[in-house]
Symmetry: C2
Subunit: 148 residues, 2 copies
DNA sequence: GGCAGATGGTCAAGTAGGTTGACTATATAG
DNA sequence: CTATATAGTCAACCTACTTGACCATCTGCC
């Protein structure tokens, strides 16, 4: 594959990612969750299963723990999460989603599904699954980083 | 497709996009072009064919023209582009890439090709082309926006 | 048990990249 | 020729992040 083709593929991927992010965020806001930025969604994804500490969140998001702490302040202030004492470590606090936080997460999933459904209309269900399969195999495991 | 599946697909796409952006940027820096951020690359893409005005660049990047003007200041100061009088409009200036700007663009293409080659090792050339095809069909035309 | 160093978290100050608002110069419509 | 729209810049501010300093608590080792 030529360099210019690789660049065209990259551009298509990044444009699609940007559009997806924006539309998920719009969908979440449209469902009544205000003061939410895309970064919050990625935090929610890490908090969802069992909660996490600020430091774990910072690693996941690829930012300093100070920045993560500040982000937690925001989502706590808006009622999406709460800080609880950590069961094993008195220094740490376990950040867990509130019911409102879970509702917001479900709203994000619904918004994502809406966008993906649009892709299905263009590509067909079969190709969307093929796309998912390809991306799963090349997606990195590390921290989520902003696209630019 | 279930909501949770759509979210998993979205997460894979965004993680891949973030990784791609980061690695292209690292590749460009490794090739000796310093003081470059990912946003500059997207500006270069718009400037490459025939140049563009600050306002056109602002629309392409999805930012205010003041922000675009500031970004142009940076790439001009670093020798990647220059401001010329616009051939048809004395108010406007045409921003065009310098030879160094073109070299940087080629470096970005080479870096992108390197990443895509890694995908080829995992998926096979055939699947990478299928991925490209899918993404081309769902990628939006509008301004490029940051993923978050 | 007790001490030294590592780790979790926060506070404070600084920075970078964006925004809004105001302004000048030039273009365009009537 | 005048009135309005557009290209670009300057200045002030805002927000999300960084670095540096600090305290509380955990862990390894004597």
């Amino acid at each position: 594959m030529q360099n210019s083709e690789a660049m065209a593929l990259s551009a298509a991927l990044l444009a699609t990612a940007g559009e997806l992010t924006q539309r998920i965020n719009e969908g979440v806001v449209a469902r009544g969750f205000e003061g939410i930025r895309p970064a919050h969604g990625f935090a929610f994804a890490r908090l969802a299963p069992d909660g996490a500490t600020v430091t774990e969140l910072a690693v996941h998001l690829g930012v300093t723990k100070q920045a993560a702490s500040q982000l937690v302040d925001e989502i706590v202030r808006r009622g999406y999460a709460e800080r609880r004492p950590h069961p094993r470590d008195a220094r740490a606090r376990l950040i867990v989603l509130t019911e409102r936080g879970w509702a917001c997460t479900r709203a994000a999933e619904a918004a994502a599904a809406e966008v993906v459904r649009g892709w299905g209309d263009v590509l067909g269900e079969r190709e969307v699954r093929a796309l998912w399969d390809c991306l799963s195999r090349i997606a990195p495991y590390g921290p989520l980083r902003p696209s630019w």
